[in-house]
């Protein structure tokens, strides 16, 4: 009886994992030469931050966002936890699309609320710089109320970016990440 009920209760989740609900493209991105500000109030050169020989994941969220951002952030947290369990450090970058409101303090509190571990940076900056960055990533969102779920993963192999539009399961996210990682 118990087993039968579990089987009834779970197929929805299993079936969903099979049909991909997100769109994957590989793109070239010229990261703009801008300085943004992280959750500690430190200036960060974006291009330098995103370079390196391990993959880096980027998303666009904001501190008081509902619906999508919590889902994207839960995905970050899960990826961080899973890779950490394998002894791998993951580099995660969130960039705010609400620079008016998102001061370093707001960013820091957001990360704390999600119990983010070191390695997940949340960046703010001037609206002009944030717009430039969004446009460079083919992620321009003119108004934060009409944003969409997007993750980008930089491949350290050739510097290309995997653009993932839509909501992934944590398994899919991990697979996409590992597809570009040099060490599995």
């Amino acid at each position: 009886m118990v087993i039968a009920l579990i089987v009834v209760a779970l197929p929805a989740a299993s079936a969903r994992a099979e049909a991909k609900k997100y769109k994957r493209t590989v793109e070239k991105v010229t990261v703009p030469d801008v300085y943004l500000i992280n959750q500690d109030g430190k200036k960060v050169h974006l291009e330098t931050l995103l370079k390196g020989d391990s993959p880096v994941v980027v998303d666009f969220i904001y501190g008081t966002c509902t619906t999508i951002c919590p889902v994207l952030s839960a995905g970050y947290l899960n990826l961080q936890g899973k890779l950490e369990a394998k002894g791998q450090a993951v580099r995660l970058v969130s960039i705010t699309i609400d620079p008016e409101n998102d001061t370093p303090k707001v960013l820091k509190e957001y990360l704390k609320r999600y119990r983010a571990k070191p390695g997940w940076d949340f960046l703010t900056g001037s609206r002009a710089d944030i717009n430039t960055v969004m446009k460079a990533f083919n992620a321009y969102i003119p108004d934060k109320m009409s944003h969409y779920p997007l993750n980008l993963i930089r491949s350290p192999k050739d510097g290309s970016w995997i653009r993932l539009f839509g909501i992934m399961s944590s398994k899919e996210f991990l697979e996409e990440y590992q597809s570009v990682a040099l060490v599995r």
Binding site: A9, T64, M145, S170
Partner: protein
């Protein structure tokens, strides 16, 4: 199946499901009739509210939830109200439609017209979240299933962004009872035919300023009632209104709540007004003093107060019921801190002296600076709070500055200090900058002596770029309006009150339809897109954001009697 699939799921989720299934198989769907509890109804509703708003279980533990099938999340960062909002009427943001969660709506069948968005992939973009087209009414039983397993009464599976909550029967009963109570009755002061509003005026406001605030409000009330008369004629002549029209017209009335005597007595006065004749919301309001007693009253009564004219708003991260234009004087102090923080010429060793006139304005400016400076990780600056007569005494002031000449001088004082500026700035060490507030100096700001203008930086919390629209905030004028030195000291009461009315009505009241709940009004106002308005560069919103204009320029004055306003920073300084 499925061995493989089962093992792929996190052990924790399996255990949770197992526990739930066991408990359900023993007790049946107990949520059908909530278990008898000794806890009083009000206490149960309080616990339910805490689950809904903060994601905290009655036990005090955080409410477990799973999204996207297998990701465990902490509901304290992911509460019901973050998407369904406080009023429970749902939201639309980022392409995600969040449907209502109130008992009133859930226990009715739901059907929406088909939409062009009912497709999986359009124009190369995934339409990743939409509501179902149709569902039967929920029962307590099917609602419990929906929350636990993410399926509606017709068996349709929810979108991945909706968490699944493995709640125990007793917690589920508390949650459902809360949802049933949520936005159950229309809020006081609103009915299908009428909105009652009030505005608040304190006795320190001049006759002229009182009129400036009241005129746009009274015009709005007259106009609203005139529209209602036209609508009634329309019906009388036999036309059938559309559904939109049915909800678009209401009668409106405006009470003026005058507050007299000491601020400690205001809350009682407000209570007497509100009890005698409840209102749906407070539109605007004006005071020269601290807004706190009114703010606190509105929080306690859960009464929306929309954009009062005040330089002393309550600075709070949790305040809910008052929408402010900005943080007033505190915002100017904050902008100064952020501007200084990024200057290479201001190092850790640069002495900064903050001279504060012993007045509410001076103290509010200093508090804004201190808070932001601390947030930026900087050590506290030397602060001296001085009475007005000391500030005007050049000998005493010279002595203060000679003792240890500051590189940066913050002068949070009124215009009586201006004649001393040349002498004071002459005593500064490098980099030799003085900061003043245009709101505090008022119209005298333009008279800052020409020979010190290069050293004096001024906070200016209003728009500098041209505004194409009329002076009262409309969009009908052809000539762009430019900020000039003549604007110093203008409190912009008419234009800001007009902006408030447009905000409250076109973006709020008109979208309520038949959901006449105060919380819902605040919810929908918080989910607006950014706006351009007459007096500020940008209004931006978001759940919980209550200071809607976030900017403040740092400017300097050009030469001449009508100096140009020269921006030295962008609108929002990061």
């Amino acid at each position: 199946m499925n061995r493989k699939r089962l093992t792929a799921l996190p052990l924790q989720l399996l255990l949770v499901c197992l526990t739930m299934v066991l408990s359900l198989s023993i007790t049946g769907f107990a949520a059908t009739s909530p278990p008898v509890s000794d806890t009083a109804k009000t206490e149960r509703l309080r616990l339910g509210e805490r689950m809904y708003r903060d994601g905290i279980l009655p036990s005090g533990a955080s409410m477990p939830a799973f999204i996207r099938g297998d990701v465990e999340v902490d509901s304290s960062a992911f509460s019901c109200s973050s998407c369904h909002l406080r009023g429970g009427l749902g939201s639309y943001e980022g392409g995600v439609v969040t449907p209502p969660t109130t008992g009133n709506k859930l226990y009715q069948s739901y059907r929406r017209p088909p939409s062009l968005d009912d497709t999986h992939d359009r124009s190369g973009r995934f339409i990743y979240a939409k509501t179902v087209v149709e569902r039967p009414p929920y029962t307590r039983n099917t609602l419990a299933t929906a929350l636990r397993f993410g399926t509606d009464p017709a068996g349709q599976v929810f979108n991945d962004v909706m968490p699944r909550y493995p709640l125990s029967d007793s917690d589920m009963a508390i949650m459902i009872e809360y949802l049933e109570s949520l936005s159950e009755q229309p809020s006081p002061g609103a009915s299908k035919s009428e909105f009652r509003f009030a505005t608040i005026i304190t006795e320190d406001v001049s006759k002229e300023e009182r009129q400036e605030m009241l005129l746009p409000l009274q015009n709005f009330i007259d106009h609203t009632n005139q529209q209602m008369n036209m609508y009634n004629d329309f019906i009388k002549f036999g036309y059938s209104p559309t559904i939109e029209m049915k909800y678009a017209f209401h009668r409106a009335s405006l009470d003026i709540w005058e507050l007299k005597g000491p601020p400690e007595t205001w809350q009682n006065q407000l209570a007497a007004y509100a009890d005698a004749q409840p209102v749906f919301a407070v539109l605007g309001g004006i005071s020269n003093g601290d807004w706190r007693p009114i703010h606190d009253f509105c929080e306690a009564r859960r009464l929306p107060c929309l954009y009062p004219i005040t330089d002393f708003p309550v600075i709070s991260e949790t305040g809910w019921y008052t929408y402010y234009f900005n943080k007033g004087y505190a915002q100017e102090g904050e902008a100064t801190a952020r501007y200084l923080n990024r200057l290479a010429t201001v190092t850790a060793g640069t002495p900064i002296l903050q001279i504060v006139q012993d007045s509410p304005a001076g103290k509010a400016l200093a508090a804004g600076f201190d808070t932001a400076w601390k947030e930026l990780g900087r050590p506290a600056v030397t602060t001296m709070i001085l009475p007005a007569d000391t500030l005007r005494n050049s000998k005493k002031m010279a002595k203060i500055l000679t003792k240890r000449p500051p590189g940066v001088l913050l002068l949070w004082a009124d215009a009586a200090l201006l004649p001393l500026l040349p002498e004071l700035t002459a005593r500064l060490a490098a980099p030799g900058m003085a900061f003043v507030s245009s709101s505090y100096l008022g119209d005298k700001t333009a008279t800052i002596s020409e020979n010190v203008r290069k050293k004096v930086f001024i906070t200016f919390p209003y728009r500098l770029t041209p505004f194409v629209g009329s002076k009262d905030g409309g969009f009908d004028a052809k000539v762009p309006i430019l900020a000039t030195a003549k604007d110093f000291g203008d409190r912009r009461i008419v234009s800001r009150s007009t902006t408030m009315l447009k905000q409250a009505t076109t973006r709020g009241l008109n979208l309520l339809y038949d959901n006449l709940y105060r919380d819902h009004l605040l919810d929908i106002m918080s989910m607006q897109m950014d706006l351009t308005v007459r007096d500020y560069e940008r209004f931006s919103f978001g759940p919980g954001q209550r200071y809607i204009s976030k900017g403040c320029y740092i400017i300097q004055l050009g030469p001449g009697k009508e100096p140009a306003l020269l921006p030295r920073s962008e609108w929002v300084i990061q």
